[in-house]
Amino acid sequence: MGSTTKSLKSQHHNFSDPFYQLNVLQQAGSHGEQFPAFTARLREHGLFPLKPTGTTILQINVGKMCNQTCRHCHVDAGPDRKEIMTRETIQLCLDALQHAPQIATIDLTGGAPEMNPDFRWFVEELSRLGRQVLVRCNLTIILANKKYNDLPEFFRQHQVHVVSSLPYFMASRTDAQRGDGVFEKSVKALQMLNAVGYGKEGSNLLLDLVYNPSGAFLPSGQKAMEAEFKRRLKSSYNIEFNSLFCITNLPISRYLDYLVQSGNYEGYMQKLVDNFNPEAAGGVMCRNTISIGWDGYLYDCDFNQMLDLKVAQTAPQHIRDFNLQVLDERNIILNQHCYGCTAGAGSSCGGETIK
């Protein structure tokens, strides 16, 4: 894998079109056989239709703009993406939360969420509402511009839970996925977060890392991988962190493009299908999370958001009409990419889904 500089959208690439992606996912393999329908696998295990278990997390994508252009990004984020959540839409999210005390965690993602001009105001307002704020920080943003250098201190002040991608404890696989020089900058940013107390025992400042494979293979053994990351990052860079979340790459957007271009698509899909685990399927994140797009539309997860698969029509479609009771009754929208969340030990924004 190598870094690209332009988003698929700005290249007018086929894989920037959700309809095209869904078509590829439905196609038969080279032997003429289709992969079994994901919904059929759920039905076999009494999980269809898939229903929410009660929403406790709101994941808000505050914009697709990012300082990086990662090779696997399912958002197709990058510096050339201009979709940014407006202050008005942010206010609608805050209004909705006033009436939904059961939503304890607000998960801010992007792009680089910090690039939204109203990001800090949003975090302050969420803190005021007494919600746990989680920010998916790509690390390099902290060093991208002087105005971001104080982010570790800002996060500390608001007790933000920081979750950051680091696909490997060495430069080779990190830079192959996230771009040249990203590993070195990520190390510096992690040291800055450690310096204000993040990841340190007893600080209550949570710093979790996200591992996702730099290639066409699945993650395995979150606990063992976490131990290896801790050992290597501590000994080489004196970096500490709390937990490692292992996430499977879902076959959509840039990662789907990579799979097809590299000739790995069929083998990877077969691996996902072969490793379908009903226990992992029971714990998928769409059962307790609602995803909000930069324009306020509602989705079952961030992946469905990128495939433009909005929540079922029976439920409110936009944050302005937010009604948690009705949303918690909906059927979750599924497609073949969902195999990515149910393979092996499962995958979610919080790592493995099996207990």
Partner: protein
């Protein structure tokens, strides 16, 4: 399609060997599964051993399987290559240590 003795697609059919001898097949795969579980050695260490042995026995299926398995377990490239050098050293050493036998034989039959 080009005909070769080894077909990558056959790796995923490994379980089919049980069709003609179910009982022994089951025992083998149960044993195989147990062997690779974490024990006195970690799963990661076992995967590296398997990778080295795969090269020593020159099994293309095993090389494919354990190269990927090592990647999945976070093994880095240098560690994988060092494991192969262990296999190579033992294979090379196994050939060369027989040089002593050769020398013995030559001395035995020489004036």
């Amino acid at each position: 399609m080009e005909k070769t003795y080894y077909n990558p697609a056959d790796l995923s059919k490994f379980g089919n060997i049980s069709e003609w001898q179910p009982e022994l097949g089951r025992k083998f795969f149960d044993y195989y599964g147990e062997v690779f579980k974490e024990g006195a050695l970690t799963e990661r260490e076992k995967s590296l051993i398997a990778l080295a042995v795969a090269h020593a026995v020159q099994c293309p299926y095993c090389i494919d399987a354990y190269s990927t398995d090592c990647l999945q377990k976070g093994v880095d490239e240098a560690q994988m290559m060092e494991a192969l050098h262990v296999a190579a050293a033992i294979k090379g050493g196994a050939a060369l240590v027989h040089g002593v036998q050769m020398m013995n034989k030559v001395k035995e039959v020489s004036m």
